[in-house]
């Protein structure tokens, strides 16, 4: 079942086009991975989906065109976890997660709002950090807080921009397991820009490989990831191994000259 349809989406910053004519569908209750080298437009695409940026083309969610919806209505349906957040004012984890309820609550949080904050803190296993200062947490803990904040919006779709980029190996796996279990438990759809091709192979249902602002290929990681596609998209020669479940484990060997 399709949750989001992206049709002929293009975006340009003042000087240069970043995304050109992208079209694909995101399934309900699925994890959709966006892969590509630096500057390929993954993060820009994520921001085009929830109106942070205004692209050309259409983004349709359950039959409603996102760019005709009010910014609050979009926030009620789509949560977003940015790649990084500049350090801001000192605040508790609870206050940070409560901000996710802003779009649902008035000036004062209702009992239901507080209940939802409790639930997502519990789901993300960070309730013991509730009264800690957000900016004194480790990168991995903070990432969980930002995901919890997005979940407090009660979204149907979660957008993750490089959710594992600043995490160590353990926290990378931890974050991806959390995402996977969220999808299977609550049925939300996830679109994530991700650098790590092996994490994408393991945790995404579908991946789109983006090269120079256009889609190179879309499909299941097992089918799409081949030595040739990795070479074409990343300019890297790679060795493919396979784990016990049949997922590819990609070991980059050397860079190749463009056009070689």
């Amino acid at each position: 079942m399709v949750k989001i349809i992206i049709q002929d989406l293009s975006f340009r910053y003042r000087s240069a086009p970043v995304l050109q004519g992208l079209s694909f569908n995101v399934g309900k209750g699925k994890v959709f991975g966006l892969l590509g080298p630096n500057g390929s437009g993954k993060s820009t695409l994520i921001k085009c989906i929830n109106q942070i940026l205004r692209p050309q083309g259409r983004v349709v969610m359950d039959g409603n065109e996102i760019h005709r919806m009010h910014i609050s209505d979009v926030a009620r349906r789509i949560g977003y976890v940015p790649q990084s957040e500049t350090m801001g004012m000192s605040m508790t984890v609870y206050d940070a997660v409560l901000m996710g309820r802003r779009v649902h609550m008035g000036w004062r949080p209702a009992k239901r709002d507080l209940g939802i904050v409790d639930r997502v803190l519990h789901d993300m296993k960070i309730e013991n950090l509730a009264m800690e200062d957000l900016w004194e947490l480790s990168g991995g803990q903070r990432q969980k807080v930002f995901i919890a904040r997005a979940l407090a919006q009660e979204p149907e779709v979660l957008l993750l921009d490089e959710p594992t980029s600043s995490l160590d190996l353990k926290h990378q796996l931890d974050t991806m397991e959390t995402v996977r279990s969220l999808v299977s438990r609550s049925g939300i759809s996830v679109v994530m820009a991700i650098h790590d091709i092996n994490l994408a192979a393991r945790y995404a249902d579908t991946v789109a490989m983006i090269r120079k602002g256009s889609i190179y290929g879309i499909g299941s990681p097992r089918v799409l990831f081949t030595p040739q596609t990795v070479r074409d998209v990343y300019g890297v020669e790679a060795t493919f191994l396979y784990d016990t479940t049949g997922n590819p484990v990609i070991v980059p060997v050397r860079g190749v000259e463009e056009g070689a």
Partner: protein, 347 residues
Amino acid sequence: MPETTTGKYLSFVQKKVFFLAITTIALILVVGIAVTIGSYDMTITDVYRIIAQGILNPGETTADLVIWNVRLPRVCMGIAAGAGLGICGAVLQAILRNPLASPFTLGITAAATFGASLAIILGIGVFGGSYIVVINAFIFTLIASFAIYALAFTKKFTPGAIIMAGIAISYLFGALTSFLQYVGTADALQQVVFWTMGSLGRANWFAIHIVAAILTVTIPILLWYSMDLNVMGSGDEAAKSMGVDVGRVRVVTLVLTSLITAGIICFTGTIGFIGLVGPHICRMLVGPDHRFLLPASALMGALILICADMASRTLFAPQVIPIGIMTSFIGVPFFIYLFIKRRGMYW
């Protein structure tokens, strides 16, 4: 346990409400003390009794006249100016995501000084009469504000663009004021310098009504935006993703804070540090939630300004030190304390 988490949060909230209540009581006490200060002796109970009676039925005794015509206007202007500048500082620090932001960061006080100087040195005013300085300061503050909006508009109202525009406008009006001072007489220059140091001594009930009217309209709107200000602390992109129309909030709050600042400084002259230090002290005490931080900053601003005014009137009595100097004397030690206490790279 989930219940414990909410319990802890609600207990935090109770502490914040308690702080607001304590600060309000402290303000009422300080107002009473401030009104007793002067050559005509009276007790604090006399002060409260005469104020309470005077609200319904003003008396004609000397004490009544001293309180209602001389001392209370000064203290009321202190409350209004301190509260207004305090809340403006908290709002500007939030929307510009800059701990050094205050009503003076945007350079609009430089415009107010130019307007006042134009009236004092050259006698040129938008309107003449006894309020020529006040009206000039007000009008030029608004002119500077709109110039800043126009410049920042070209860069989509990003915090950096607003600050840069403020700096440019500040230097422009600073240069214009310097030029006026260059051609002005020694007597006029002294008046300009006195104006820039700030004073509550020019307060009267007309001025208080004007400032109170501005605050009555603007503060509820700013409080309404509290939650949006909280969210904007996470950055523009994150705030948009949480449903905040970042551009609109920034424009509306900038217009309101400009109006408050203009309304206050045109009557008092430049009063620094209240809008910078008041919110910082409150942030340390009640945290960054603007639903509590804004009222706390207003109360703290009023408290600091009235204390500074008391100090300015009593330290070298009968000489009155300009309040702009006194707020800096009180503000700088606080600022240094905060600077040393500041943990890590954040605020």
